[in-house]
Structures are given as C-alpha cells and as structure tokens.
Symmetry: C3
Subunit: 340 residues, 3 copies
C-alpha cells in the first residue's frame, strides 16, 4: 500500500506566502520551490538542481529564471535549464520536474501525481467563499503525526465532547448516535443533531442564544485529505431544514486541507467561514486564536498517539460505535492507496 | 536473552509523586499510568486506551475511574472498561492491563511480570528503615545508560577510589583486594576493609574522627537491580565485629533501586540511611546534595561508556582482579534473563 | 569501497589545543586522546580503556601516564598499561593502540592507518610557511557533511562566482573555462586566469589596485583531503609568469586540511598565507573573519546538499564542463579507497 495518494491537490502555502522570490516547501517527502513569475502566476519546481542537488530555493529568482546557488545554472518556470555557466551545450537531462499549481481560496495547491490528471475541478468547491455574508479566519499548524490520524480526527464528531470543552464541545452530545455515509464516490460524512442542550462556549461567545439550542455537527472528508466541519445551531423547536440552517443564528464551516510532509508530519492549512460578524476584524482575530487553540488540543493528543503507535507497531485499534465515519473513511482511502 | 528481568519489583515513583490524579511513568519500555484511588491505594494501568491508544494519563481521574482524553472511555482501577460514550455494550477486550503495586520505603514499586508471582516478600527488607536512630535522605536521577552498567558500578567498590575522591573515596584503598560472594540464591556482595587510613571527605565532614580509621565498604546487589552499599568506619584498632559496626561513629547504608526505562535509560531511585545527625534537616539536605553529586560522577562516566559500547558493539571487556563482584553478578543476572 | 583513506596524515587539533593535559578528538569514527608528554612531544592513544571502555580523556595525565577515570589503570604514551590497581600481573592485552603524530604548521596531524607507512615526508610541504614575507591567519570549522563534498568544493573554482560574491568571487569568471590536471601521482589541480576584470571584494579591500586586473585561481587537492587555493592578481597587461606572480600586489594561498569525523561530519582546519600586511595583527583578524564567513557560505550549502543526498540516495550528479577537476579527483580518491 502506498503511503500517500499522489493524484490530489495539496495545499502547501498561503497566497501571501508566495511572492516573486523563492520559497521552499516539503510535501509527500519531496522538497519543491515555489515562486511567482512576472505574470503573477505561481510556479512549482523540484527544489534540487540536477547538477549537484543544491537547493534551488537558496538561489535567486532573476527575470523569471531560478538561478542555482552553487554554480549558477538557470531554469525557466517549466523546469528547463536555459543556462550552464562555462558551457554552451545544455543537455536534455538538465531539467527539473515541474508541478501543476492552482491558486484558490487564498491558498496554493500543488499536484504531485500524474500531471495529466491535474483537473482543477477536482478541488472542493466552496460556494460561501467570497460571499459578503460570510467572514473568514485562517490558521496554519504543523502536526507531528501521520496525516491519517488527522483525517480520522476530522471525520469524528464524538471527540469534541472530550477534547474541546473549552470551545466547540460540551457534555451534551456524549451518547447521541452518529450517522455516517458515503457521498458520491469520494466523500464520507459523519454527523448528528444534539437537541435541546446548552450552547457550547464558542456559540455563547458569538451568538449568545436566549435558551437551549439544537446543535448540528456534520463532518466531511473528501478522500484523501480535504476536510470540512459544518457546525451550527437553531433555537430548540425550530424545524431541522436546510433553509432554517441557512439562516441559523450561528453557523461555521471550518475547512482543513491536510498535506503530508512525510509519514510523521503534516501541514494543516485551515480556514473558517462564519455567518456571524462577517466583517468584524476583531472577531476574525478571535476566531483565529480560538480555532488554533482547538487544533492545538488535537495536535498534542494525536502526536502522543503517534508515539504510542510507533512504540507498539502491532497494536490494532478497537473500533467503537462512534467510529463509523472513521471506518468508512479508512476503507475508502485504503482503496485509493492500493489502486495507485 | 531477554533485555529485562520482568518478575521483580521496580521503583517508579516516590510516594509523594502519586496523588489522586494521573501520573505517567515508563519502565521496561512500557508506559503506565499511576494514581491513588479514594481508599489511598496506588494503582497502575497501561497508559494507553484500547480504542485508539490515547495516553490515559492525559485524561482525568473521576470517581476512581480513569477517563480517556480522546473519547471519554472510562476504566476502573482494575483496568476494566465501564463506559463507552455512545455505546451500551462494552466488549470484553475493552480492558487495559493492570499491574501489582507495592508502596513501601516512601517509594512506589510495580511488578511488570507474571502477577501471580508478585510476592511482597520479594522486596528487600530494610530493618533500619523507620528507626529513629537512622536519618534518611533521598535522591532521584535518570541515567542515560543501560541498567546493567549501573549494577556493575554498584557491585564495584574499587571505582570509588578514582571516581569519588570528593566524597566517599580516597587513595588508601587502591590496592586492597576485594572479596565477593553469592549470598543465598540471588544476592551478590563485594567488599573489603581498608585499615589505618585517613577518613574520606564525607566522614571528615560528618564525624570528624580524631585519627586514622578502619573503613569498610560492602556492596550488595540483589539481582536484578536492588543495590545497597554498607559503608562506615571504626577507630583504627577497634575489633571488626558486627557489634562494633552497629555502634560505629559513622555508618551509611545507601540503597539504590534501579528501573530500566529502556535499553539505554534507567530510573535511579535512591535513599541513604545514616547513623549521624539522624534528625538534622540541614544534614539531610547536605546528604541529598552530596549523594546526588556522587551519583552524577557515575552518571557522566557510565553514559560515556554506553556511547563507547554503542559505537563499538563487538568490544569485550577485559576483566581485572577487582571485577570479581561484577563477574559474579553478571553470571547471576544472565541466568535470570535466560530463564525467562 | 572503504569510507576513508586511512593511510594519510589528518589534522585533528592546533598546536595550542594540545597541552600537558588530556584532550579528546574524533576522526575516522575513532575517538583518540591527545596529550603532550614532559618532553613536549604530542602523543595520541585510543580514547578508550581496555578494561571497561571508559574514555581515558576524562581521567588525568600524571607523570606522563594516562590514568583511567574509572579504576585508575595507567598507560604510558606508547599505550602500554603499566599499572592495574589491586593487581600485580599486567596482561599483555592491557594495551591501547597508539598513533603516529606529527606537529607541523601549528597543527597536530595523526596517522590512523598502518604505522609503518607514516612517513612525515607525505605531509604537504609549504615553502612560504614561516617566511617573514607572508602573514598567516587561521580558522576552524566543523562541517556537517561528508568530507568528499568538501574536497569537491575545493577543487572547483567555478562555484566562487556564485557562492562567494561577498569576498573572493564576482561575475567576471562565470564563463571562463577551467583546466584541470593530475600532478604527479596524487594531486589534482584545477584553475584559470580571469583577465581584465574588476578586482573581487577581498582584493579591493586589501590591495585596492588602480584598474582592472588579471586574476588567477588555481585549486589543488592532494588526495585524499589536503587542499590549497592559490589566488592572486596582476595588473592587467602584466605577463603571466611565476616570477610576476611571486611579486603580485595581492596573493593568498589558503590551505584546508579536512579530517573526516564520520561519514556526515568533517573537521575543517585552515590557514591562509598572504603577501599583504604580513605582520599586521588587525589584518590577520580581518582575514580570519572573512575566510570563516566564506567557509560558512560553503558549509550551509554543502550541508543542504548532504541532506538532499541522504533523502535521495539513488540520485546521480550530472557532470558539467566546470566539473573537470571534480571528476579527476573523484577518480583518484575512488582508486585510493578501493585499493585499501
């Protein structure tokens, strides 16, 4: 079984990170160099000169050419070598691999697999993005664990009750069953309604509803590693319809784009779309702080689990009822990994 | 040959360390969680939930139950799972291993081997402990080396002359032969009298005898890793009898309980019983400082030896005359390791 | 193929480093202890007692004997054990290996291979050393990479254009061809003249020539790892003869003695002989600073290349025209390594 699904879009940077200069990032155990050419388009090449393997990212970007820091070999944005100092002939193998790039949602996505399959339509479509009704907050974290521990976590609403009591969880949901399903060919969902209970801390802070609420938490993972959580609440007694949800007093859709760095480290790019105080910069900052703190709770726990698994490679998890989403997603991703 | 002797009591904490909250410790490559139930008794479980291997020690102790930090599974002190949120039936395999615990001498001892063999009588009996004639000082250190390098060191009076000239050694003993013997089935002793010589620094400091002394140093290791050093002196000319030793102007029995963390790290729990200034708190503090400093001298050296052995795995030690206790103990422990 | 050429002189310390006390150094994966006996001669032994492998360097030097820190075994400078406390007979195997030592050019050189081949005449002869016309500056660095990446770098004048624009390079030389050759049986040279160009920064700083210069850069490596760079300039139009070079307004011969610590770390002992401001202490300090900064530029890059090679062990470099010296040296050293 492969370690990674290569044919997928992976976030590796924010739009702001990438300018007309060289930036090194690592994903799927490969170092790449990112830069914007003068036309504003982001490019991605292997970060390793063909000559002696010097990191191109430590060189210079000069007239849209990447200049190797060691002997000045120059590559254009397609990866073709266009100059070798001290030598007229440029051999055909003087070429570094380039990767398809997509800039969307304020993020830079790279396709590390077969470039012929790099269809932009495969990136998740986010209808609320850019709508003035929705505010946006962003955060980034690096998790010291395998990416699949994080996708397990992000198809698992049950853990919020125990891990995130300070922000997005409380005791109310502990025993309420979850429903999971496969949507289309590649997305798993898992969620539930928790009715007639006190609002969780983050809802109290930003919407402060008068009485009890019916809270929904629906988690989605598009295999391999695009995750989102649809979370909100209605006054208890309101009908549970999509239309009511569309006008809920509090709703947040939190996206997470996970990118394996290697088998034991993962980039975690995230943003939250919220329907409260959409334009309020202070609220945006508070969301960024609260969500980062929430993800930190996951990170600490998942890194401990990673160490336990590393120390005991023969252990098998014991599935429980609330793992139905996890089990479904594991099967789906195993299939993707095996088919490669 | 096994790496550890499992059927033995191993110190893992002081009594003070363990309260009505969760504490993680590692021994013999296994992480355990320690806690006191409401009856005051110390309990020990594997520190790893059966579900997804989260460290139980990062959860909460609630009404004598250990609550997993990830999904709230609850275990009683026997390791039996008594609640799985979102699920009524609790499968039989939802059980974490528990370990026999013994609290004695201000320390918590755990038995990692066959629980049916966990006989409290196998712990060393210390008659002087709790006697008002004996003062007690304690210290803890973590050694970055294999436990057997430390037991070698603690059955070896010869090294004190060279390693510990600042506290418990001086040049006098260098060439005086050592006698080693097997006591009963499981204890090795190695020692000697060093007659008519100047007192070593620690004796000068706390007993300040008028002239030369006859100093004894008898080292004991009960296999695998319970060690004690009986050390004292009599005015030169006094008869060398147990009765005279019982009233010696200076005598310290220093205990060391060694617990392998893994092959290259070891817990070193220690206390010293002294017959001088038994109730003097300042002397106790000074003993703690001096013994910790003495063990630090050993630690630095043994960690260097560990690195030399790791770098040169085929080297064989060259036994010398003063190694008779070491050789005897090695044979005894090898036998224990092979019989497992 | 062996990892190191053992039959060679390797620098391991400066003369100042070694006094009448014990000093530990590691080369070719072996730890040695260095010391000066009372006759002022530097000695080198394996830094590991035959008994229990304690590092002798942590003991004491006492009347020209090395005393082991653990049990006081004493060795003379030839490595012969001359005392075992507690034991009269000294077995023949109680002997630590000693190594031939040569003190020259303010450095201590050790021979780790067959001692019968340790001919002082094999050390490079430096005629300018100790001449009052030449000033000397020194520096030391530890490179976190394989020694052969550094010898590649030091037979490669082409990289100065791109890596060292702040000190010893500028754009002028980029496309000027290099000539490499094998000199005698064991030295490779690679160099060129760069004519009628602006002086590089370090020349401007110390010689400030009026107009353009003809600059030479000739790099030499005596296999396996003794390296020197002959670098200087003449006013453009001057004939390129050895005699003119001998009276050049600016000339520096920079020596580097590389000593593998292990496969991924290397001692880099260096000194520069300069024909400008030979006795000026302030200039000496400035040279030390500038050359250390220059080597730091190499170090950072070579350590990145080492990591790239470690992560991609199957990559093969793509040789370019300016690699002729590198290729020649690689062949020569491969032969030395295979013949061992």
């Amino acid at each position: 079984m492969a370690k990674y699904v290569f044919n997928a879009w992976y976030a590796v940077a924010t739009s702001e990170d990438v300018r007309a200069e060289l930036l090194s990032r690592t994903l799927l155990e490969e170092s790449i160099v990112l830069f914007r050419t003068e036309d504003g388009i982001v490019r991605a090449l292997i970060d390793r000169c063909t000559h002696r393997f010097a990191p191109l990212s430590q060189g210079r970007l000069c007239a849209d050419r990447v200049v190797c820091p060691y002997h000045g070999m120059e590559y254009d944005w397609s990866g073709k070598c266009v100059r070798i100092p001290g030598q007229d002939r440029i051999p055909a193998q003087a070429r570094v691999k380039s990767f398809p790039v997509l800039e969307r949602y304020g993020l830079i996505f790279v396709w590390m697999g077969d470039p012929d399959l790099a269809d932009p339509a495969l990136l998740v479509d986010i209808s609320q993005y850019s709508s003035p009704q929705w505010g946006i907050s962003r955060c980034y974290s690096k998790f010291g664990c395998n990416w699949r521990l994080i996708t397990d976590n992000l198809i698992d609403p049950a853990h919020t009750t125990f891990v995130h009591q300070r922000t997005i969880g409380n005791d109310a949901g502990a025993d309420i069953p979850l429903n999971s399903e496969l949507i289309g060919e590649g997305t798993v969902s898992c969620g539930r309604w928790i009715n007639n209970s006190a609002p969780v801390p983050i809802v109290k802070r930003f919407a402060n509803p008068a009485g009890n609420v019916d809270r929904w938490q629906f988690y989605y993972v598009r295999a391999p590693a695009t995750c989102w959580v649809d979370f909100g609440c209605l006054p208890t007694g309101t009908e549970h319809t999509a239309e009511e949800q569309a006008h809920a007093p509090y709703r947040v859709i939190s996206y997470a784009f996970l990118t394996p760095i290697n088998e034991s480290a993962t980039h975690y790019f995230s943003f939250q779309l919220r329907n409260v105080a959409a334009k309020d910069v202070v609220v945006t900052q508070e969301f960024e702080r609260l969500y980062l703190a929430t993800f930190e709770e996951d990170r600490v726990l998942l890194e401990q689990i990673q160490r336990a698994e590393d120390a005991n490679p023969n252990l098998k998890p014991m599935y429980i009822a609330s793992d139905s989403g996890v089990a479904r997603l594991r099967r789906l991703v195993d299939k993707q990994l095996q088919e490669q």
